[in-house]
Amino acid sequence: MNENASGLKSQVQPIVVVDSISKSFTHNVKVLDNVSTRVTKGDVLVIIGPSGSGKSTFLRCLNGLEDIDQGTILIDGIPLDDHEKNRLKIRREVGMVFQSFHLFPHMTVLENVNLAQKLVRKKSKIEATQLSKDLLQKVGVDDKAAVYPNELSGGQQQRVAIARALALMPKIMLFDEATSALDPEMIGEVLDVIRDLANDGMTMVVVTHEMGFAREVSDRVLFMEHGCVIEEAPTERFFQQPAQERTRAFLRKIL
């Protein structure tokens, strides 16, 4: 009984714990104002909100690309604080995909995916290549392994970027408007890859403007505006019975 209880507890134990974080770029403008949330292992949290609401900044705080002024962030039990060691540890557990890909242009696709495995996980080239090939196949660009990023389409580049982020076997994946810089006909192929990841049980925090996609893959939705959380709810409730008037107005406009 006791064992069962503790087993249950570890299942619902959140892997991302964010407690009332605040951040301002200049003294007056608060980009994040007392934001808190939790993400359970295996869940997909989608963050939506108008431009400038602080959703990207919030995401970038989760792996320490941005510093916070107040509050605490706990990733898989590790506090994201001023200690460089903790920061590195967290970044090894958290993969991130950017709006404009940011592949390393001087390396081939394979080298892009191999790099962190070799440097961070200290794998040999052969070991790294094995996993990289699998990942590239998973995202459907295994035929481009020897090619440089500038010879790829936007959709292909983003899929390589996803493979690169997965190469460290992260426990959490962050997606920062991963399809916003893509031509419309390439959005689908990238969303497919992210959807597969969600189905595989990857814990993800996704900032997106694709509402249909958000509704489909997410377990919870967090709506932000002016750096504040307006509403956070399980997906179905969020879209069907939003509690806040502001959320209803936003959804009316975009759906």
Partner: protein, 265 residues
Amino acid sequence: MTRKKKNVLHVYRDISVFAAFSCLFGWLVVRGGREIAYTWHWNQIPRYFFQVDDGVYVSGPLMNGLQVTLQIIGLSLVLAGILGLTTALLRMSTSPVGRWIARIYLEIIRNTPLLVQIFFLYFVMAPILDVGRFATAVLALGMFEGAYASEIFRAGICSIGRGQWEAAYSSGLSTFDTYRKVILPQAIRRILPPLTSQAVSLVKDSALVSTIAVYDLTMEGRTVIAETFLTFEIWFTVAGMYLFITLILSAIASLLEKYVPQRTA
């Protein structure tokens, strides 16, 4: 008129203008040469390169000087590269002391004449540190060109977009690995052209070390002139030898540029 015909006409016009100016320049040189009534003795020059005595190769003063100059250039290029990169990284580091040191070094070196620096190192520092003329020369040149190289390095590093840093950091790379594997390889490719012209400057500036009696190419040339009064021939020859070194440097740089293609995101 078709565009192609027009282009051909342009080329003919350019060539004839160029030929006219060349003729004018050549005429001026020849006339000037007659005016100064100088008797040229080009036939005496080869033996200052090297002589063959009884089948044994004996290098002359110009070859000895060239060798010393090449050694100085090689060593101070390495020193300038190390100092330049270190200074650039210090200036961009989070340590305030590091940034200060880099800044002070940079401002002192860039805002005083190289000749004064050479004298200062030779007459003040060399006795204290107990180093010879050759080492002083390498040190002075390396420090001087290193200051300029550091600004080139810094510009190159700054030209790499923030996204590359973020991508590397979020892959769990340390700052050291990010520089080594992501930032510098991209930056080096971009700064190769300005770095080459800095290296060419170093070659030419190296002539100044003759002032502290380092027997480099310039010093050897001056000595030969003092003995033979072949002023024009020797200085032309020495200039040609410097040109030879710098052209080789430029050729190496353009080869590198050709075989290391620039790739942008």
